[in-house]
Amino acid sequence: MTSHSVPVEVHDHHDVRPIRKAAMWVFLGSECMFFGSMIATFLLYRNETGDGPGAEIFDIPFTSASSFILLMSSLTMVLAHNAFENRDPRATRIWLGATALLGTIFLAGQIFEFTEFVHKGLTLSTSSFGSAFYMLTGFHGAHVAIGVLMLMAMFYLSFSGRLYDDRGLNVELVGLYWHFVDIVWIVIFTVVYLLQV
Protein backbone atom coordinates (compact mmCIF):
# COMPACT_ATOMS: atom_id res chain seq x y z
CA MET A 1 0.00 0.00 0.00
CA THR A 2 1.34 3.39 -0.87
CA SER A 3 2.46 5.42 2.04
CA HIS A 4 1.08 8.92 1.56
CA SER A 5 -1.94 9.64 3.65
CA VAL A 6 -5.41 9.66 2.18
CA PRO A 7 -8.43 11.51 3.41
CA VAL A 8 -10.68 8.60 4.08
CA GLU A 9 -14.33 9.52 4.03
CA VAL A 10 -15.72 7.35 6.72
CA HIS A 11 -19.26 6.29 6.04
CA ASP A 12 -21.49 4.87 8.59
CA HIS A 13 -22.86 2.06 6.53
CA HIS A 14 -25.57 1.36 9.00
CA ASP A 15 -27.14 4.75 9.00
CA VAL A 16 -29.51 4.41 6.08
CA ARG A 17 -31.43 7.61 6.70
CA PRO A 18 -29.17 9.81 4.58
CA ILE A 19 -29.57 7.40 1.67
CA ARG A 20 -33.33 7.51 1.81
CA LYS A 21 -33.44 11.22 2.37
CA ALA A 22 -31.12 11.84 -0.56
CA ALA A 23 -33.40 9.80 -2.77
CA MET A 24 -36.44 11.65 -1.47
CA TRP A 25 -34.90 15.04 -2.19
CA VAL A 26 -33.95 13.95 -5.68
CA PHE A 27 -37.50 12.79 -6.20
CA LEU A 28 -38.85 16.12 -4.98
CA GLY A 29 -36.52 17.95 -7.36
CA SER A 30 -38.02 15.85 -10.09
CA GLU A 31 -41.53 16.72 -8.92
CA CYS A 32 -40.66 20.40 -9.27
CA MET A 33 -40.30 19.79 -12.99
CA PHE A 34 -43.57 17.89 -13.07
CA PHE A 35 -45.56 20.66 -11.45
CA GLY A 36 -43.54 23.34 -13.21
CA SER A 37 -44.66 21.96 -16.56
CA MET A 38 -48.29 22.05 -15.55
CA ILE A 39 -48.02 25.52 -14.06
CA ALA A 40 -46.43 26.74 -17.29
CA THR A 41 -49.26 25.15 -19.24
CA PHE A 42 -51.73 26.98 -17.07
CA LEU A 43 -49.95 30.29 -17.53
CA LEU A 44 -49.98 29.74 -21.28
CA TYR A 45 -53.70 29.08 -21.34
CA ARG A 46 -54.82 31.43 -18.57
CA ASN A 47 -56.79 33.52 -21.07
CA GLU A 48 -57.81 30.74 -23.47
CA THR A 49 -61.29 30.48 -22.04
CA GLY A 50 -63.05 30.00 -25.36
CA ASP A 51 -66.80 30.25 -24.83
CA GLY A 52 -66.58 29.09 -21.24
CA PRO A 53 -66.04 30.92 -17.97
CA GLY A 54 -62.64 32.06 -16.79
CA ALA A 55 -61.00 33.03 -13.53
CA GLU A 56 -63.99 35.15 -12.53
CA ILE A 57 -65.74 32.07 -11.18
CA PHE A 58 -63.05 31.56 -8.53
CA ASP A 59 -64.18 32.00 -4.97
CA ILE A 60 -61.07 33.52 -3.41
CA PRO A 61 -62.25 33.59 0.21
CA PHE A 62 -63.19 29.92 0.07
CA THR A 63 -59.93 28.85 -1.54
CA SER A 64 -57.99 31.05 0.85
CA ALA A 65 -59.53 29.18 3.74
CA SER A 66 -58.69 25.77 2.33
CA SER A 67 -55.20 26.95 1.42
CA PHE A 68 -54.74 28.05 4.98
CA ILE A 69 -55.81 24.66 6.22
CA LEU A 70 -53.25 22.95 4.03
CA LEU A 71 -50.60 25.40 5.18
CA MET A 72 -51.33 24.62 8.80
CA SER A 73 -51.19 20.90 8.12
CA SER A 74 -47.50 21.49 7.52
CA LEU A 75 -47.23 22.71 11.07
CA THR A 76 -48.94 19.63 12.46
CA MET A 77 -46.74 17.49 10.25
CA VAL A 78 -43.54 19.01 11.51
CA LEU A 79 -44.79 18.61 15.07
CA ALA A 80 -45.47 14.96 14.34
CA HIS A 81 -41.98 14.56 13.04
CA ASN A 82 -40.62 16.33 16.09
CA ALA A 83 -42.52 14.00 18.39
CA PHE A 84 -41.31 11.06 16.34
CA GLU A 85 -37.70 12.15 16.75
CA ASN A 86 -38.30 12.49 20.48
CA ARG A 87 -39.59 8.94 20.48
CA ASP A 88 -43.01 9.97 21.70
CA PRO A 89 -45.42 7.66 19.85
CA ARG A 90 -48.50 9.14 21.44
CA ALA A 91 -47.81 12.72 20.41
CA THR A 92 -46.66 11.47 17.02
CA ARG A 93 -49.97 9.72 16.59
CA ILE A 94 -51.97 12.77 17.55
CA TRP A 95 -50.17 15.08 15.18
CA LEU A 96 -50.19 12.55 12.36
CA GLY A 97 -53.92 12.19 12.79
CA ALA A 98 -54.33 15.95 12.80
CA THR A 99 -52.34 16.26 9.60
CA ALA A 100 -54.33 13.56 7.86
CA LEU A 101 -57.52 15.25 8.99
CA LEU A 102 -56.47 18.66 7.69
CA GLY A 103 -55.42 17.08 4.43
CA THR A 104 -58.79 15.41 4.13
CA ILE A 105 -60.57 18.69 4.77
CA PHE A 106 -58.53 20.29 2.03
CA LEU A 107 -59.48 17.49 -0.33
CA ALA A 108 -63.13 17.83 0.56
CA GLY A 109 -62.86 21.55 -0.16
CA GLN A 110 -61.34 20.83 -3.52
CA ILE A 111 -64.07 18.38 -4.43
CA PHE A 112 -66.66 20.95 -3.42
CA GLU A 113 -64.90 23.62 -5.46
CA PHE A 114 -64.73 21.41 -8.53
CA THR A 115 -68.44 20.64 -8.35
CA GLU A 116 -69.20 24.34 -8.05
CA PHE A 117 -67.11 25.13 -11.10
CA VAL A 118 -68.68 22.39 -13.14
CA HIS A 119 -72.09 23.84 -12.30
CA LYS A 120 -70.86 27.23 -13.44
CA GLY A 121 -69.91 25.70 -16.77
CA LEU A 122 -66.21 25.05 -16.43
CA THR A 123 -65.28 21.47 -17.22
CA LEU A 124 -62.18 19.66 -18.31
CA SER A 125 -63.19 20.04 -21.94
CA THR A 126 -64.77 23.51 -21.97
CA SER A 127 -61.60 25.31 -22.92
CA SER A 128 -57.85 25.13 -22.76
CA PHE A 129 -58.15 27.14 -19.58
CA GLY A 130 -60.40 24.53 -18.03
CA SER A 131 -58.15 21.69 -19.14
CA ALA A 132 -55.06 23.32 -17.66
CA PHE A 133 -56.81 24.30 -14.46
CA TYR A 134 -58.23 20.89 -13.70
CA MET A 135 -55.08 19.08 -14.66
CA LEU A 136 -52.89 21.16 -12.40
CA THR A 137 -55.13 21.26 -9.37
CA GLY A 138 -56.25 17.68 -9.98
CA PHE A 139 -52.75 16.27 -9.97
CA HIS A 140 -52.02 18.28 -6.86
CA GLY A 141 -55.11 16.84 -5.26
CA ALA A 142 -53.96 13.35 -6.20
CA HIS A 143 -50.68 14.04 -4.46
CA VAL A 144 -52.52 15.18 -1.34
CA ALA A 145 -54.63 12.03 -1.45
CA ILE A 146 -51.56 9.81 -1.65
CA GLY A 147 -50.07 11.79 1.23
CA VAL A 148 -53.17 11.22 3.32
CA LEU A 149 -52.94 7.49 2.61
CA MET A 150 -49.34 7.41 3.74
CA LEU A 151 -50.15 9.43 6.85
CA MET A 152 -52.88 6.97 7.68
CA ALA A 153 -50.47 4.10 7.25
CA MET A 154 -48.10 5.75 9.72
CA PHE A 155 -51.00 6.45 12.04
CA TYR A 156 -51.93 2.78 11.92
CA LEU A 157 -48.37 1.66 12.59
CA SER A 158 -48.20 3.88 15.63
CA PHE A 159 -50.84 1.72 17.31
CA SER A 160 -49.03 -1.53 16.75
CA GLY A 161 -45.89 0.06 18.13
CA ARG A 162 -44.01 -0.61 14.91
CA LEU A 163 -43.41 3.00 14.06
CA TYR A 164 -39.72 2.64 14.71
CA ASP A 165 -39.13 -0.53 12.73
CA ASP A 166 -36.78 -0.02 9.88
CA ARG A 167 -38.66 0.10 6.60
CA GLY A 168 -38.76 1.96 3.34
CA LEU A 169 -41.22 4.53 4.53
CA ASN A 170 -41.05 6.42 7.79
CA VAL A 171 -42.47 9.53 9.38
CA GLU A 172 -39.60 11.72 8.24
CA LEU A 173 -39.97 10.78 4.57
CA VAL A 174 -43.73 11.10 4.67
CA GLY A 175 -43.18 14.50 6.24
CA LEU A 176 -40.88 15.66 3.46
CA TYR A 177 -43.41 14.56 0.90
CA TRP A 178 -46.23 16.27 2.73
CA HIS A 179 -44.41 19.58 3.05
CA PHE A 180 -43.58 19.42 -0.61
CA VAL A 181 -47.22 19.02 -1.52
CA ASP A 182 -47.85 22.06 0.62
CA ILE A 183 -45.23 24.26 -1.03
CA VAL A 184 -46.53 23.30 -4.44
CA TRP A 185 -49.90 24.56 -3.35
CA ILE A 186 -48.32 27.80 -2.16
CA VAL A 187 -47.25 28.41 -5.74
CA ILE A 188 -50.49 27.18 -7.26
CA PHE A 189 -52.55 29.36 -4.98
CA THR A 190 -50.61 32.42 -6.09
CA VAL A 191 -50.38 31.62 -9.78
CA VAL A 192 -53.79 30.16 -10.39
CA TYR A 193 -55.94 32.10 -8.00
CA LEU A 194 -54.44 35.31 -6.71
CA LEU A 195 -52.78 36.40 -9.92
CA GLN A 196 -55.87 35.76 -12.02
CA VAL A 197 -58.42 37.84 -10.13
Binding site: W25, V26, I39, G175, I186
Partner: protein, 96 residues
Protein backbone atom coordinates in the same frame (compact mmCIF):
# COMPACT_ATOMS: atom_id res chain seq x y z
CA UNK B 1 -20.61 24.62 5.03
CA UNK B 2 -19.80 22.37 7.92
CA UNK B 3 -21.19 25.03 10.18
CA UNK B 4 -24.48 25.00 8.35
CA UNK B 5 -24.74 21.27 8.51
CA UNK B 6 -24.38 21.25 12.26
CA UNK B 7 -26.76 24.03 13.04
CA UNK B 8 -28.89 23.12 16.02
CA UNK B 9 -32.19 21.52 15.20
CA UNK B 10 -35.20 23.75 15.63
CA UNK B 11 -37.63 23.28 18.47
CA UNK B 12 -41.42 23.27 18.40
CA UNK B 13 -41.20 26.91 19.37
CA UNK B 14 -39.53 27.70 16.07
CA UNK B 15 -42.23 25.75 14.25
CA UNK B 16 -45.00 27.76 15.84
CA UNK B 17 -43.25 31.00 15.03
CA UNK B 18 -42.79 29.96 11.41
CA UNK B 19 -46.42 28.94 11.24
CA UNK B 20 -47.42 32.35 12.54
CA UNK B 21 -45.29 34.01 9.90
CA UNK B 22 -46.82 31.81 7.21
CA UNK B 23 -50.28 32.76 8.41
CA UNK B 24 -49.37 36.43 8.38
CA UNK B 25 -47.93 36.34 4.90
CA UNK B 26 -50.96 34.47 3.66
CA UNK B 27 -53.20 37.17 5.09
CA UNK B 28 -51.23 39.82 3.22
CA UNK B 29 -51.37 37.77 0.02
CA UNK B 30 -55.11 37.48 0.15
CA UNK B 31 -55.44 41.18 0.74
CA UNK B 32 -53.18 42.25 -2.12
CA UNK B 33 -55.59 41.70 -5.01
CA UNK B 34 -58.20 43.80 -3.24
CA UNK B 35 -55.95 46.82 -2.73
CA UNK B 36 -56.02 48.66 -6.03
CA UNK B 37 -53.09 50.87 -5.05
CA UNK B 38 -50.89 47.80 -5.26
CA UNK B 39 -51.99 46.83 -8.76
CA UNK B 40 -48.85 47.96 -10.54
CA UNK B 41 -46.62 45.77 -8.40
CA UNK B 42 -49.16 43.06 -7.78
CA UNK B 43 -47.43 40.38 -9.83
CA UNK B 44 -43.90 40.65 -8.42
CA UNK B 45 -45.26 41.21 -4.95
CA UNK B 46 -47.37 38.07 -4.97
CA UNK B 47 -44.48 36.06 -6.37
CA UNK B 48 -42.20 37.41 -3.65
CA UNK B 49 -44.68 36.57 -0.90
CA UNK B 50 -45.11 33.08 -2.28
CA UNK B 51 -41.33 32.70 -2.35
CA UNK B 52 -41.10 33.68 1.31
CA UNK B 53 -43.63 31.04 2.26
CA UNK B 54 -42.03 28.49 -0.01
CA UNK B 55 -38.58 28.86 1.47
CA UNK B 56 -39.86 29.14 5.02
CA UNK B 57 -41.47 25.72 4.70
CA UNK B 58 -38.52 24.24 2.87
CA UNK B 59 -35.95 25.69 5.22
CA UNK B 60 -37.60 25.07 8.56
CA UNK B 61 -40.33 22.48 8.25
CA UNK B 62 -38.34 20.41 5.82
CA UNK B 63 -35.15 21.14 7.75
CA UNK B 64 -33.23 21.94 4.61
CA UNK B 65 -31.37 24.68 6.48
CA UNK B 66 -30.09 22.09 8.88
CA UNK B 67 -29.28 19.28 6.52
CA UNK B 68 -26.36 18.18 4.41
CA UNK B 69 -25.61 20.55 1.53
CA UNK B 70 -26.08 17.58 -0.78
CA UNK B 71 -29.84 17.62 -0.30
CA UNK B 72 -30.01 21.30 -1.01
CA UNK B 73 -28.12 20.84 -4.26
CA UNK B 74 -30.35 18.00 -5.35
CA UNK B 75 -33.54 19.87 -4.66
CA UNK B 76 -32.51 23.31 -5.87
CA UNK B 77 -31.54 21.90 -9.25
CA UNK B 78 -35.22 21.24 -9.72
CA UNK B 79 -36.54 24.42 -8.12
CA UNK B 80 -34.23 26.81 -9.88
CA UNK B 81 -33.95 24.79 -13.05
CA UNK B 82 -37.62 24.89 -13.84
CA UNK B 83 -37.90 28.68 -13.95
CA UNK B 84 -35.55 29.65 -16.79
CA UNK B 85 -36.71 26.75 -18.92
CA UNK B 86 -40.35 27.61 -18.78
CA UNK B 87 -39.83 31.34 -18.94
CA UNK B 88 -38.12 30.75 -22.28
CA UNK B 89 -40.92 28.43 -23.38
CA UNK B 90 -43.60 30.94 -22.45
CA UNK B 91 -41.75 33.84 -24.02
CA UNK B 92 -41.25 31.98 -27.26
CA UNK B 93 -44.94 31.17 -27.30
CA UNK B 94 -45.84 34.80 -26.65
CA UNK B 95 -47.66 34.02 -23.45
CA UNK B 96 -46.89 37.41 -21.92
Amino acid sequence: MAEVAHRAHPTPRTYWIIAAILAGVTAIEIAVPYISALDPIKVPLLWALAAIKFFAVVGFFMHLRYEKPLYRTLFFFGVFGVFPLFIVVLLSMHAF
